[in-house]
Structure formats: structure tokens, C-alpha cells
Point group: C2
Chain length 391, copies 2
């Protein structure tokens, strides 16, 4: 008398979580300093001091009922306005608060958009390498899930392969840039070419193919690179954003969905997103954090620590001869497994207490992922272990 799919999802543990727990178990035996755990993407930069200062100020200057009370399902009007203003200031987005739906972080926002766009037979396309949870999200929403093969070794988009995957049933393409797990940022050219294909195919099929832009890493970019703002390149783009990484608030579950007015059926789509949120019991996003966003949306993350880690690892590994995707964003490095079998290589590394995530679940079995939101010291100590693994 219980749902077997739900049971399977609740018991099929992810490889990443398993690795993380193995690391904790080994740390108890050999000591935390002797484990090199690159498995989990939990931000290691604390929230900016201004965030906690904003919380204190809100508790002082705002009545309790307004701080902790229900907001409307779509969120506080002031917070939605602050988000629209921010998008307009930074990207000239032309957003208004009616286009913004405040959500509980990128994951539930994606599931809301997936449900809003799903109908029997509809297919969603992900581009390898991709965040593994897209698959259960899409399938739970009732859509089919297809994967465009990776563009190796640049990890942009293999546009010919993508076009070959499009069918009249394609409802949306999921784009995640800066990318988890590759750490690459799709270039303006890549996205403009993608837009041209989708525009042509939408016309051919007689219905829009949406882009669902999963952007939790939008602000985590290095070397002066910018992640192009997709709605300006392709109008039928629905943005799912999270403050998890930009404000280091992953546990607080706060972000937003942006449905640009220029997207086809934007009003109906916004209503459908509200409807799926209602069906999932989401009547408002956490209210204190909505107030925090109103006051802190202008903050940018201090990326110096991540950047230092990124350079040490990238330079260290490439000097040894590892092939690494150019890491311009997020906090991941995607590295070709010597021998081409990332499961075997990760297993070998695990014997030396170096924890790497094989790329199979990301749709890219030749590569492994390193998450570098860790202590810098650990990186320095782990480099000789990477060197040993090449011998």
C-alpha cells in the first residue's frame, strides 16, 4: 500500500551521497586530515556578513507577523519587485514583479516548471554532462527525458547532436550554465546558435520549444567571464534561480522563477507554475528569507577562496598531464579519467582516500568531477595523490 516509484527514489541512494558518507566513515578511522573529499557541492564560503546583519535588522524593524507570516503564493510584492529591479539593472531584462514567482530554491522551481510544461508524450532534453536529478524530476512530472551527448573536450553544446535529438514532441531544453559538473560557461556564440536552431525548429513544429535555464551558479564565474543572460538571446526561456550559491544560503531554500513576458504563452505558463506549486503544497517561500533577499539582492559573492582553489587544482592537474575542461564557472572541475573509465579510476583513487565522483550519472562516463569548495590545505595535500594515480 505504498507507491513503488517513490520507494525506489527514496532508497536508490546517489553515488555522491554514498561517497560522502564513505568519506565521513574513513575520516573517523584515519583522521579528517587524511581524507581528500571532493564529493559534495556544499558551499564552503560563509554567507556575506551583510546577510546576518540584514536578519538582525529585520527582526528589529519589522513586526513579527510581517516577518514570519504567510506571503502570497508567488511571494512578497516588495521582494518580487526587488528581483525584477535587479534583473533590469544588470541585464536590462524588462522584467516586472508579475513575471517573478519566488520559490524554495532551484530544485523545487525546476520541478514546478517541469510539471507546468509536461503533458503526455512531451520530451525534455538535457545536455550532457547534466545534473542527475533532472531525470527523476522530469519523469515524476510525466515527461520523457532525453540526453544530448557531451561536446568533448570543450563542454560547450554539440549543436548538431542537439538538433538531431529534437522532435515535434520536444517541449523544452534544459540549459545549465555555469555548468555542474563541467565548470564550463556556455559562450554567447554557443547560445546564439542554440537559439537559432530552436527558433527554426519551433517554427517548423508549430509550437515553441522552451529553454529551462537552471542558473544557481550564474554569479560564480572567473577570469572576467560572464554567463550570458539567456532570455535576451532566446525569448522562450524560463529562468530558475537560487540564492544558494550567490549568497551561500543553500539550506534556506530561496530562489525564484522568472517567466519573461516575451516567452510564448507567458501568462498561462506562469499560472500553470502557480498551479503546480499549489498542488505540491507550496503556498509561499520561507518568509524571513524573502525579506533578506529584498535587502541583499545587490550583494555579490566573494569568490576569492573558490578562485584560489580552482587555480591550484587546475594548474596542478594540467601540469601533471591530466586533461581538464576549462573551468570558468561554478565550483567544479571535470577531468578526463586516465584510461577513460571514470568508475575504475575513482575506485583506484578511493583506495588512496581521494574521493572523486565518476561521470556516469552526469551522462559522461569518461570524466570525473571534483568539487573544489573545500579547504585550500586539502587541495595542496591531495596533489601528490593525484600524481601517484598517474604512475
Amino acid at each position: 500500500m505504498y507507491n513503488p516509484q517513490a520507494y525506489a527514489l527514496g532508497t536508490n541512494r546517489s553515488c555522491i551521497r554514498d561517497l560522502f558518507e564513505y568519506g565521513a566513515m574513513r575520516a573517523a578511522i584515519v583522521g579528517k586530515d587524511n581524507i581528500y573529499d571532493y564529493s559534495l557541492g556544499n558551499p564552503s564560503i560563509p554567507a556575506p556578513a551583510a546577510v546576518n546583519a540584514a536578519i538582525r535588522a529585520i527582526l528589529e524593524d519589522t513586526p513579527s507577523l510581517a516577518v514570519h507570516g504567510y506571503t502570497s503564493a508567488a511571494g512578497n510584492p516588495e521582494t518580487r519587485q526587488a528581483i525584477a529591479d535587479d534583473l533590469n539593472r544588470r541585464f536590462h531584462a524588462g522584467a516586472s514583479k508579475e513575471d517573478i514567482f519566488i520559490g524554495c530554491g532551484a530544485a523545487p522551481e525546476l520541478t514546478a516548471v517541469f510539471h507546468a510544461l509536461a503533458s503526455p508524450g512531451v520530451e525534455f532534453l538535457a545536455i550532457a554532462p547534466y545534473f542527475p536529478e533532472y531525470k527523476p524530476f522530469a519523469e515524476s512530472a510525466g515527461a520523457s527525458f532525453k540526453v544530448v551527448p557531451a561536446d568533448i573536450p570543450d563542454f560547450q553544446i554539440d549543436l548538431a547532436a542537439l538538433e538531431a535529438c529534437l522532435t515535434p514532441n520536444t517541449g523544452a531544453v534544459i540549459v545549465n550554465s555555469p555548468n555542474n559538473p563541467s565548470g564550463t560557461v556556455y559562450s554567447f556564440d554557443t547560445l546564439q546558435n542554440l537559439s537559432a536552431i530552436l527558433t527554426r525548429k519551433s517554427k517548423e513544429y508549430g509550437h515553441p520549444i522552451y529553454i529551462i535555464s537552471d542558473e544557481p551558479y550564474r554569479e560564480l564565474v572567473y577570469d572576467g567571464v560572464q554567463a550570458p543572460f539567456l532570455p535576451l538571446i532566446y525569448p522562450h526561456t524560463i529562468v530558475c534561480y537560487s540564492f544558494s550559491k550567490s549568497l551561500s544560503l543553500p539550506g534556506e531554500r530561496i530562489g525564484y522563477i522568472y517567466v519573461p513576458k516575451a516567452a510564448a504563452d507567458s501568462e498561462a505558463l506562469y499560472a500553470a507554475i502557480a498551479g503546480t506549486s499549489r498542488a505540491m503544497g507550496h503556498v509561499c517561500a520561507p518568509s524571513l528569507m524573502q525579506h533578506v533577499v529584498t535587502r541583499c539582492i545587490h550583494l555579490q559573492p566573494d569568490l576569492a577562496a573558490y578562485d584560489r582553489n580552482r587555480k591550484a587544482l587546475y594548474e596542478g592537474l594540467t601540469a601533471m598531464g591530466y586533461e581538464v575542461a576549462k573551468p570558468q564557472g561554478a565550483f567544479y572541475l571535470f577531468v578526463k579519467a586516465p584510461g577513460g573509465d571514470s568508475v575504475a579510476f575513482s575506485e583506484k583513487a578511493k583506495q588512496k582516500d581521494l574521493l572523486l565522483v565518476p561521470g556516469d550519472d552526469f551522462g559522461c562516463p569518461e570524466y570525473f568531477r571534483i568539487c573544489y569548495c573545500v579547504e585550500h590545505e586539502m587541495i595542496l595535500k591531495s596533489l601528490p595523490v593525484f600524481a601517484e594515480l598517474l604512475v
Copy 2:
């Protein structure tokens, strides 16, 4: 290219929301003091001072990454332990932290449990009067939704009617006590008789019929009444709790699911709940509020203001001749519409700027709901209007 069911859910506005917005519109015309708005159940008691004190203390004594970082999907172990301890202290529940899944308030917790228990053909029973969102929650989960007629005028459970609704397809009965909208508390006798029927029928059908106990109002009880703790009466009870009302934190989206070890298939059911939460993108409940719960779970709400409102209205209305269900819990009064048509009566009241929610959506069209979490002054001013409506 969007989901028509989701669109319908997002555009079919609730009568309660419509009334509330009508009230705001009228207030702008005739002045806030001349509107008697009993439509919305948003707590009017601020959170206990200890809640904001706990937030300040957490920001002082806990590192930012621990305050705002991801917890496991099921929640912080310390918070889960504090919840189990609280259940054991108050109810001798025999709970351990492994039985607790921290959720984002009762609504998403209910949808998670509904999804976990739903499979094709499964029916969920609600008991009129009932919270209207149960229907979209159940149907979105893929279950059928059936309603047991109300037990008028006592608003306990019509047990013969309930038994007549049971079939081999019944997966669960949803119990909500203290009840929204009736304000009644199911007695120990009522629940023991319900338990006897479900035990007998579970045996007859060869599978357990679960109770899903929706308990956001558990602590909002008056006149020394206690809401019996259902898992002690019927083992196959899954509890969905929220701190929205007990700590006046409705906007913060924090509560828990309790799956007692004695419930049939409890481990599998817990895993299925974790699985549906994962499929909906819920990887953890808001983390700062989890810390708040760890420190504040022992607090009880100060009900004096609600109790004063309750008495003024109940005594005022019954003295005029209105028939009112005995209000022992929550913050609602359920009143028989003179003439028996609550839509017509509410419409008549609306002409006098008195906003009452007709009972149709609750499955009880002869009654209307009053939500008395309002200013006491408004109650006193509204009583003469109630009197006029009887003439």
C-alpha cells in the same frame, strides 16, 4: 505546450482568497475599520519573543555554514532528535529521530504522504467539513478523493457513514483535529471508535488503511480540552505537523512528518516519503528554522487573545440565536446559515461588509466559517451586524 490541469489549478481562485481581496478593495473605499473580515486563517498572535531571541542567539553562536548550509533531506539529526524527544515527553510516543522527516509545513508534508501512499485506484477519504486543498493534493498524487458526510450538528465523525465509504481500495483516511473549519476537537471516544472500524476493515481487506493526521492546530485547544494523540490510538497513523500555528511561523514553512515504527511498512513508507520529497526537489527544510525548532520546540502558544475572541463571538452569536458548532480548538467558528444556504447568507453579509466563508468548499453548504484570529475590537463592532442579518 503547458499542462492544462496545472493551469486550471493556478487560475481557479479560491473563494477565500477572493473574499480576502474583496475586503482589501472595500477597505480602501470605506476604511479598514468598517470592514469585518473573517475570511483568512493567518495567525494574529506574533511569534513568542523566544523565537526571535533564538534566531539572534543562533546567529551569534553557530557558524554561518552550519546555520545556512544544506542539511540532509530528512533534516538536522539534532532537530529530529528534539522533535522525537518532545513527542516522547508529551505523549510517550516511543519516537526516535529515524521516524521524523522534517518538512516545509503541513501542506507539502501532506502532498508528500499522499504521493507516497498513492497508486492507481487508491482512494483517500476526507471527513466533511474538510480543508479544501486536500482534493487537489490527492488528485495530483493520482489518488481518488471521497468525502464522508458531516456529522451535523456535533461535527465529530459520522462513523456509520464513514464505514459505508470504505472499500478495498481505501488507502487512507485524512483526519484533521482540531478541525478547520469547524473548530471542533474529535473526542477520544470518537477516535477510538474510528480505530476499531479501521482495524476491523484493514483485517477484512488484507491491507492497512492508514490515517493521515493533519495536525497544524494540535496545540490550539481551549477549556482544558486536549487533542488525543492519534498514533497511540491507531498505530497506522502518519502525522503531518506544522509549527505555523503553535509558534506563529506560517511563512517560514517548517514542520515534520512522523511515521511511527508501529505503522505497517513504516520503513518502506518513510523511504517513499523521502522519495517523493526528492522528486519534488525538496532536499531539506529551511535550515535556520530547523535550528529554531531545536531550541523552541518546548514553547507553547499564548492562546489568551484567541480565547477572548472565541468567547466573545461564540457567546454573542449563540445569544442571538445562531447555531454554532462547539469551538474547542483552532481559531474557527462554524455557524449554521439562517435559512440553510450559506452562499446566499454570505452574499447578504457581504453587502454589509461582513466577510464570511460559505461552507460549500468544505463539503458543508449549510454552514459558514468565521476565522477569529482578528482584532478583538472588530469582533465587538461586528456583532450588531450579525444581529441585523437575523432580522
